[in-house]
């Protein structure tokens, strides 16, 4: 008996034109937390889909408890004790927590009807195991994002799963919630005989929680079941991207006594922001840090006129302005917003590259009688698309067919093309591979050096500390602190977290 609960050997998976996996191996030890890492497109998600029965491999074998298996549907994998907790929340929002937990196997009474008392009782068991204080009758849509994530894990556990695949489980969690989650995962491994596959872009977390690491690069193993203790951050990054990570730091001298370009004064909003004061200098990168639910994105949306500002003033160059809509912001005041949710708010996935990259400039480019053709738009946006090294076969390519990184580049390109003075950038690198990520970082710095003023929202502390000139901390829809960034990670992070947990 080997002590591997799950073993994949020499897996090859071909898609038309692409070899997604090429002789990849993956071994999961019993009662361990195993990190599966790799750049976007390295084959991680293909591997996960093979494990969970969504795809079948072309070559290679899959062993579960030393027995060869092949799953033809997610259901079969689930019945064999393999559960995946997806990045996208997969709970039924209008159902109660308890029903969600028990959905695949709803308890019935003698008449064959669902017995909701038992549902509550049974599901409570799993919530208790996770030490979650949630009433099973709560409707999911009433929960916080963090609790939804935990409920997803509880759901996986309730299926008596012995293997949990967690796909970016912390991407929307606050540091505190992340800590709680990790404590829970460790306990599950120790007490419930669960083995965990952990997928994340946040390397700090990998070092914090994982025992072993498998890295994929271009569909092949860059390393296989390496002990975490044998690795450090630099080595890991090198394994993932095949070269050393370039660490960038903004070297700028902003005179913070200068007049502000944009000034928010005692802003109170319909969404619940209280007395927000903010100012942005010319050429500055102002970081907005806070936990999910601190009201940062919401504040920006209020400034853009999408929700109501009840009192307070917005000054641009010391003149009071009223922004009615993003259109107003763009056309009158040259303010742009790069959304955190590029699929939903950033891009029109079903449209081609040209119309996505050009959407912000149509109004400026239109000729008499609102005439506009492709070549006018092309001439305008082409330099920016080239500058950003967007990889696309043509401008007629539908955006949804591009990789996440290239999509993000396009949603940045359209704002570069629009030539705004002020850019609000919201979580620019979520789910982006390291190469594109560092590229985008350079770009943001370059932009600010050229005079664009930027408000940067990110939950990625290292990103914040390497990019921002000044960091504002928000909590519960209020500003709770302001720090000038000295780019020293330890100092800055403890100061920011201090602001939050005061």
């Amino acid at each position: 008996m080997s002590d591997y609960i799950l073993e994949l050997s020499n897996i090859t998976k071909n898609f038309p034109g692409v070899k997604a996996l090429d002789n990849a191996n993956f071994k999961l030890k019993k009662k361990s937390i195993h990190a599966l890492l790799g750049e976007n497109g390295a084959g991680k998600s293909t591997l996960i889909k093979i494990i969970t029965g969504v795809y079948n491999q072309n070559e290679g074998k899959l062993f579960l408890n030393n027995q060869e298996k092949s799953f033809s549907s997610p259901n079969e994998a689930m019945n064999a004790g393999i559960s995946v907790v997806h990045q996208e929340r997969n709970l039924i929002r209008r159902f109660s927590v308890g029903e969600n937990l028990m959905l695949t196997n709803l308890p019935k009474n003698n008449l064959g009807l669902i017995d909701y008392n038992t549902v509550a009782k049974e599901s409570k068991k799993w919530l208790d195991i996770m030490e979650l204080d949630i009433d099973p009758n709560t409707i999911v849509s009433d929960l916080t994002v963090a609790k939804m994530q935990l409920c997803e894990i509880a759901k996986a556990l309730s299926l008596e799963s012995k293997i949990l695949l967690l796909d970016e489980p912390t991407s929307s969690l606050s540091p505190q919630d992340t800590k709680n989650l990790f404590a829970l995962l460790k306990r599950l491994v120790a007490e419930q005989d669960v083995s965990i596959v952990f997928v994340s872009h946040k390397l700090e977390e990998v070092f914090e929680i994982c025992d072993e690491v498998t890295v994929l690069r271009d569909g092949k193993n860059a390393c296989e079941s390496e002990q975490i203790t044998n690795l450090n951050r630099q080595k890991l990054v090198k394994l993932m991207i095949g070269r050393d990570e370039q660490i960038i730091k903004s070297k700028k001298n902003i005179d913070f006594t200068d007049e502000s370009l944009l000034d928010l004064q005692s802003i109170n909003t319909d969404l619940g922001h209280k007395n927000i004061n903010l100012n942005l200098k010319k050429g500055e990168i102002l970081g907005l840090y806070g936990l999910v639910g601190a009201g940062r994105t919401e504040l920006i949306k209020c400034v853009l006129g999408l929700d109501k500002i009840n009192s307070g003033q917005i000054l641009l160059n010391n003149k009071e302005i009223k922004i009615k809509s993003p259109k107003d912001a763009l056309e009158k005041y040259k303010i742009g917003y790069i959304s955190e949710d590029r699929k939903k708010e950033g891009l029109i996935l079903m449209h081609d590259v040209l119309s996505n990259a050009g959407i912000t400039v149509w109004s400026n480019l239109k000729k008499i009688l609102s005439f506009l053709n492709d070549s006018i738009v092309y001439n305008k946006v082409d330099p920016y698309v080239k500058q950003l090294e967007v990889k696309t076969p043509s401008y007629q390519q539908i955006v949804s067919n591009l990789s996440g990184g290239n999509q993000q580049k396009i949603s940045v390109a359209k704002w570069l093309a629009s030539g705004t003075d002020i850019l609000f950038i919201d979580e620019p690198t979520v789910g982006i591979d390291i190469k594109t990520k560092s590229y985008l970082h350079e770009l943001i710095i370059e932009l600010s050096l050229k005079g664009t003023s930027i408000i940067l929202i990110t939950s990625d502390m290292p990103e914040m500390i390497s990019l921002a000139d000044r960091i504002i901390t928000m909590k519960d829809f209020k500003v709770v602190g302001e720090t000038i960034n000295n780019h020293n990670y330890e100092e800055m992070s403890s100061s920011i977290m201090g602001n939050i947990h005061e």
């Binding site: 038309p16 034109g17 853009l304 999408l306 809509s325 993003p326 259109k327 912001a329 763009l330 056309e331 742009g336 917003y337 959304s339 939903k344 708010e345 950033g346 891009l347 029109i348 996935l349 079903m350 449209h351 119309s355 959407i359 912000t360 149509w362 109004s363 480019l365 239109k366 009688l369 609102s370 005439f371 506009l372 053709n373 076969p393 359209k414 629009s418």
Partner: protein, 328 residues
């Protein structure tokens, strides 16, 4: 990329064109009267109206919505036109402008209520359908306007091109070109499409989505009113029942043409010429079925079967071309 097949061949329009030609062949061979001057002229008139109605629905489908009030709106506008000409003695040209403005206004109401309340346009236009039609019957007391200027009614029976084609068809085809131009070559057209495809992203990219949606509904009202005028000219009178009870008779061509033409019900895609071909296909089939003499009562049955066949065929074509493009 597979360059051997031109892009046009992969489109829905091409499939439709083939179907249209196939059906023309079938009907020309199997029936006597299909190619008669009378029949072609009659076809051209029916097609003209179906295209216009289809376009009026298409521009709302663009927003991911529906306009059930289309028929009621068109008839109301036509009745308004009849009133202008007959009771008020307003000249034809001014009447037409007024009618189009009136149709746009009713469309604006649809759009405004939809945008402001956030209620799906299916429900809003379901209600306004009743309201427009109700007001129309109330105000006209269901009386038709029958004494329209001759210059106006003569236009509807004018025969062009050696008496084969109705001028109404020319109006519809011109409208297609204008719409194609708007959607392809203007700032506003691009914004309409972007707003329909992803309202959130469009809004954040500086497009006033609400306004665009209202424009779409206004355009729909405009086109429906135009269809109303055309129908009035065709039958020589403005009649409350000319689109059936509540304007229901327009709904079928309104949906068939854009749907066959490849317009996505979820919004964000327009197919002006697809809609035109869709309307032509439906009219052809309808006419051909009558001529082949399948029995009037079975016409709808076959129409349904053919509609189903056409969408399935289109799906197969899509499947085939998508596969193709991954491989190449």
């Amino acid at each position: 990329m597979n360059n051997k097949i031109p892009n046009f061949v992969k489109t829905n329009q091409f499939g439709l064109l083939i179907l249209v030609i196939v059906f023309i062949c079938i009907f020309s061979f199997s029936t006597d009267g299909f190619t008669s001057r009378f029949n072609i002229y009659a076809l051209s008139r029916v097609v003209a109206l179906d295209i216009m109605i289809g376009l009026a629905m298409m521009v709302v489908i663009l927003t991911g919505g529906l306009n059930l009030s289309l028929g009621a709106l068109g008839v109301s506008a036509a009745m308004f036109g009849g009133w202008c000409m007959e009771s008020m003695g307003i000249p034809i040209s001014i009447t037409i402008i007024l009618v189009l403005a009136f149709g746009s206004f009713l469309g604006w109401i649809n759009g405004f209520v939809t945008v402001r309340t956030g209620v799906h346009s299916f429900i809003v236009t379901l209600a306004t359908m009743s309201i427009y039609f109700g007001f129309m019957t109330l105000l006209t007391e269901a009386e038709a306007f029958r004494k329209l200027p001759e210059a106006f009614t003569d236009f509807g029976s004018l025969k062009l091109f050696n008496k084969y084609i109705s001028p109404l068809l020319i109006i519809s085809v011109l409208t297609c070109f204008v719409l194609y131009y708007i959607f392809k070559y203007t700032d506003i057209g691009r914004k309409l499409i972007a707003a329909g495809a992803n309202p959130d992203a469009a809004e954040l990219s500086g497009i006033s989505v609400d306004r665009m949606f209202i424009y779409c509904h206004m355009l729909s009202g405009f086109l429906a009113a135009l269809a109303g005028i055309m129908l009035t000219a065709r039958i020589g009178a403005a009649i409350p029942s000319m689109a059936g009870h509540l304007g229901f008779d327009w709904l079928l061509p309104a949906f068939l043409a854009p749907v066959l033409g490849g317009t996505l019900l979820s919004g964000g895609k327009v197919t002006v010429f697809g809609t035109m071909l869709g309307a032509i296909l439906v009219t052809l089939i309808n006419n051909g079925l009558y001529l082949i003499d399948v029995g009037e009562f079975w016409v709808r049955f076959f129409l349904g079967i053919i509609l189903l066949g056409a969408v399935l065929l289109d799906r197969a074509r899509e499947y085939f071309t998508v596969k193709n493009s991954i491989v190449s």
